[in-house]
Amino acid sequence: MTLATAAVFQPVARKEYLDRLAALSPGPAFTPELWTEVHEEVQEQLVLLEAEVHRMVAEVRVDAGRTEGNRFFLFSYRTFSMPHSTLDPVVAGITFIPARQAVTVEADVSGERTGDWISSVPSKTVANSREELVAVARDSARKLCQSADAIAAALTDPSRRVE
């Protein structure tokens, strides 16, 4: 009777082809640079929305901004407000929220303080790549650009006055 033998292969240190492991990464690397790129992509699209709202409401004031927090990667937005008015400003923005090695992208137009919904884009979850994330951000921002009429109407709606 012979004893069973087990082949033992010692690990071999190799540095070649390490780049191939990147294909197994569970999603894009969420670096500050990535979020700056996404923010800039969103704002580039929202310029068109600003121009369209300006065409309809000449006196509108528009401010671009971004915030971030521990539970959301980025909120990239433009705020539309009427100077010297108590009407609630309207915010067109996109939120990027972590979701199990993926990102949920939520885009909508709503009141800054009251949170009244003016329009929204169906949310999307992005898991695959930096390119896909930027593409979804661009697509969502373009869809928000279709809300110019609704934003103009909200900015002149007296029922939206706040304290």
Binding site: G69, F72, T114
Partner: protein, 121 residues
């Protein structure tokens, strides 16, 4: 406990308004308003008040003195737990300046339910 700041995640909405949120009322401290409820069909941002870092604190209204049930004021407090009016005023002064004040960021970092929706009754 979760309280909700109604509206959006903008820097301005997370910063008190000078002359409005910096003034106390009967049963209600000065500070940024938050509520335990969201109006139906509205958007709000859920804050875990246990995640608020000093000097910020969420102070519930005193309903026996005219405050609103479920309403909180979020404000910087001193070592005695009283609203620090000077710090609150300085925070409010930063509103609309295009910069995110450190207290605004503390509040944004305490958001645990971004874009919460008020359920329709």
């Amino acid at each position: 406990m979760i309280v909700y700041i109604w509206g959006n995640l903008t820097s301005d909405n997370f910063t008190p308004r000078r002359g409005k949120d910096t003034i106390s009322r009967p049963g209600q401290h000065a500070g940024l308003s938050a509520s335990q409820t969201i109006p139906p069909g509205r958007k709000a941002q859920g804050i875990d008040i246990d995640k608020l870092k000093p000097p910020l604190k969420a102070i519930p209204d005193n309903t026996t003195q005219g405050g609103t049930p479920g309403h909180f004021a979020i404000a910087p407090v001193d070592e005695k737990g009283e609203v620090d009016v000077k710090q609150l005023e300085a925070w409010a002064m930063s509103r609309g300046a295009g910069q995110t004040h450190e207290f605004t960021q503390l509040l944004l970092d305490a958001v645990v339910e971004p874009n919460a929706k008020g359920s329709m009754q």
